[in-house]
Symmetry: C2
């Protein structure tokens, strides 16, 4: 499907490749005062999260080097990564993401630029092997940082100190993820994911305002739909543009609000009209998940069929129902369809009738009638619950200790957005200050992929060693603080 258009769309995406801004960043501390011997270690701090290329200028003292210098260089986003080891790591995310290199330097002095692009603030250099006849001098270190975010487009933000810090951290997060396209994380996966794109595009509209970068990403997704016309959960751009073979119910549907948000921010009628058929196709494809009898999304145990959040025990049926409604409503704003309006109503009613517990005032999910925060949040965002009922379900979740919690900043964004929607602006701000503020207090320069205030080392991957500490979906506090959504009369 769309086979005749895809090549054209990918050409448009190619033509929208962004200009990359570079900047030379110097260490703020950690450059060793003394020459290094074998087994010595240095930890250099570049002062803030950087994405780019590291260059070391090395020389020697003592006799002429009579053997190579053998170094390990580890590049870390977060200080705690510095001492983490891969020993015993058997998680399902590849350990190849850990940013560690080894190198032999045959001739000194030397200026060595490491072979890859890295995301880091800290650099740990271990001297694995050196001759006893000389010592290694680290003369200089620098980063050629790279981003497609234009700092000059940022308006000053004034507020309470913590809010300013949260805003700065959010901006840095988005900036580091803005590269040749909107990456989910510059350490990992360095990939265009729909779930991340939607939120970083939103934040971009009120910060770096690189509208063309969003347009490029929408065309990339449209240009890589499969033979059914389905939007992939994520895609690669190297060695050529190609969709990943992962498809998720919610991520395909989120193409619709992502297109609406772009149209709302830019008024770009032509792009909206060109990509609208792709957006509507996602609604059509989602039909296969519905039971025509009940108008409910079929319950599924298949891991990852619908993302919602990284809470592994989460039953996704209710959220999928709500996300479909949320996305169908977005489609209606671009092109109204009376028949779709009836289906939306029917599915809202079905959810209220079959997936609502009158007594507890909570929405439930799946055959086990699982209670989760995510279900209440999406009930509100989709307008399944409105007014007093919406407030009631969120309040009821707070009183239900067994409710499946929220584990990602991505889910916390939706929670804060739901609070705004029901007018609880102060509470939304408190959530941002408590949750993202706690990362700031934990030393974050950029917002993390995962954060559980009760257990900062938590990871769904088996070990924090592969966690990403600069992740696009965590950048939305800048949107909350700058879009006006937190204002009482918004």
């Amino acid at each position: 499907m769309f086979e005749d258009k895809k090549t054209e769309w990918l050409k448009k995406a190619e033509a929208l490749k962004p200009r990359l801004y570079t900047e030379t960043v110097k260490p703020v501390s950690g450059m060793p005062d003394e020459p290094l011997s074998e087994n010595d270690c240095a930890v250099i701090d570049f002062g803030n999260h950087c994405v780019g290329h590291l260059t070391l200028r090395l020389s020697s003292t003592g006799s002429h080097p009579d053997a190579p210098a053998w170094l390990s260089v580890k590049l870390c986003e977060n200080r705690k990564e510095l001492n983490e080891s891969l020993e015993g790591y058997h998680g399902w995310i590849s350990k190849s993401w850990v940013q560690t290199e080894q190198m032999h330097i045959d001739v000194l002095p030397a200026e060595v630029t490491l072979p890859r692009r890295y995301a880091f603030r800290y650099v740990r250099i271990d001297v694995l092997g050196l001759s006893s006849k000389y010592r290694l001098v680290l003369e200089d270190a620098s980063v050629e940082s790279v981003t497609s975010a234009d700092d000059r487009r940022i308006d000053p933000f004034r507020g309470e100190e913590l809010d300013e810090k949260i805003d700065q951290t959010a901006l840095r997060t988005l900036r580091s993820c803005m590269q040749d396209f909107f990456e989910d994380g510059p350490k990992r996966d360095r990939r265009l994911w729909m779930g991340d794109l939607r939120l970083q595009a939103l934040t971009n509209y009120v910060t770096y305002k690189n509208f063309d970068l969003v347009k490029r990403c929408l065309y990339l997704f449209a240009g890589t739909v499969n033979e059914e016309g389905r939007i992939a959960a994520c895609l690669f751009t190297e060695p050529r543009v190609e969709a990943d073979d992962t498809y998720m119910f919610d991520y395909s549907l989120f193409f619709i609000p992502a297109l609406l948000d772009y149209y709302t921010a830019t008024g770009d009628e032509a792009t909206k009209n060109e990509l609208l058929p792709v957006a509507l196709r996602q609604l059509a494809l989602a039909e296969e998940q519905f039971d025509p009898e009940t108008q409910l999304v079929k319950d599924s145990d298949r891991l990852g069929w619908c993302f919602v959040d990284w809470a592994l025990p989460l039953n996704k049926q209710f959220c999928a129902q709500a996300i479909w409604i949320y996305c169908a409503k977005a489609a209606q704003k671009m092109i109204y369809d009376p028949q779709l309006e009836q289906t939306i109503s029917a599915r809202i009613q079905a959810a209220k009738k079959c997936l609502y517990d009158e007594e507890s005032r909570l929405f439930v999910s799946g055959a086990s009638r699982q209670i989760s925060w995510a279900s209440q949040v999406w009930a509100v965002l989709a307008g399944i619950a409105e007014g007093e009922e919406a407030a009631a379900c969120l309040d009821a979740a707070a009183l239900c200790p067994d409710a499946i919690g929220m584990v990602t900043p991505y889910m916390m964004h939706h929670y804060a957005e739901a609070l705004c929607l029901i007018g609880r602006k102060k509470q939304a701000l408190a959530v941002i200050r408590d949750y993202w503020g706690a990362m700031v207090k934990n030393g974050a320069d950029t917002f993390w992929e995962l954060f559980n205030p009760a257990n900062p080392d938590e990871s769904p991957y088996g070990s924090a060693v592969v966690n990403s500490y600069c992740h696009a979906w965590s950048c939305t506090p800048a949107w909350f603080l700058r879009s006006g959504i937190l204002e009482e009369n918004a």
Copy 2:
């Protein structure tokens, strides 16, 4: 000293930089039939010892790679290195010499050329990290091998099968060491050492005949003498030409026979005349090691003051005395000095009088009157022992189980040469077949730096892991087999 000449000499050396011949070498076996997963390993065999640059062509099968491929690549001269580990290695030769690299490949397919020049036949690739969504395909591997040896200059050598194999192995050894200058070993130390140069130049004259490369090396040594005019034991050419701060009694003196051999091979009068003052200066400087009273070299405990062999307990006094005589005689062949002739005689007499045990017919060394093979060999080479007395001391050593043995091919070369000198040509050939032949039978493609037939894993460095398996000083069987020295009437 020679300060006004050194710059000129280094310019001459620079102008003599050799042409490098390259050749593409393909694996003979070990290319994996199946794609590789995490923790898989492949061992590629390039069929012979190569010096050069390794290129791997990699692709993937399965899903689009969603994480980098993290590889360890180990390059080994000898098959037994493949499974050796650096775990627990604390020897005094830097472990940075072990040819092992790690790399992350972000984008597949990729053609990756490793960053350095390596010496190897075998390449072991370990997949340290990979995603479970794809497998790695090793499409191709190739070596761009490099040498300044011109294979077209080699005359065919015909003889018994073992002799032919020994000759081939010796040629390969020399070829791999012939680079921008005569390296001691292309794995380690990749440096110009006088002890190696003298023997590889000798072999070169009857094989690759790259006379300019010897000339270049003589000028490099002359151009880097210290303020006293002393020839260094070795020198570096990168990042600029510089002598090492290691000086050894024998290695400085060997500049003299090296110059004589060059003159004999080429008849290059101009070079001989220009460098003769440097040669004679080494004799003058050696005077500081003599006791003018006894005309004997002073005994010394300082490790490495005179090399001779890697036998650590070896007392060097006698050998140093003999090597001085050997080198002074070489000087006499270039410019005769009657006064030097008297000194030579006096020192031969002093050795015979003070460092000879009449009863056992063995030469002894040091205050402890240590008995070693090395002393007998150098007594013969220097002409301290001649005729029947020379044969007697070598025979006596064979009957003395406590005599300090010979541990390097370098020392074995001098033993075989001593046998030739006393007319024992068959025995010399037997030594070559036994000693170098045993390396061939142990799978050598090139001759090793160190070889003890009784303990092939022996190393003076604390572990065989840093041993060099292609070492210049071991290449001389081709000289023995091709120079005619083994012929009865030679």
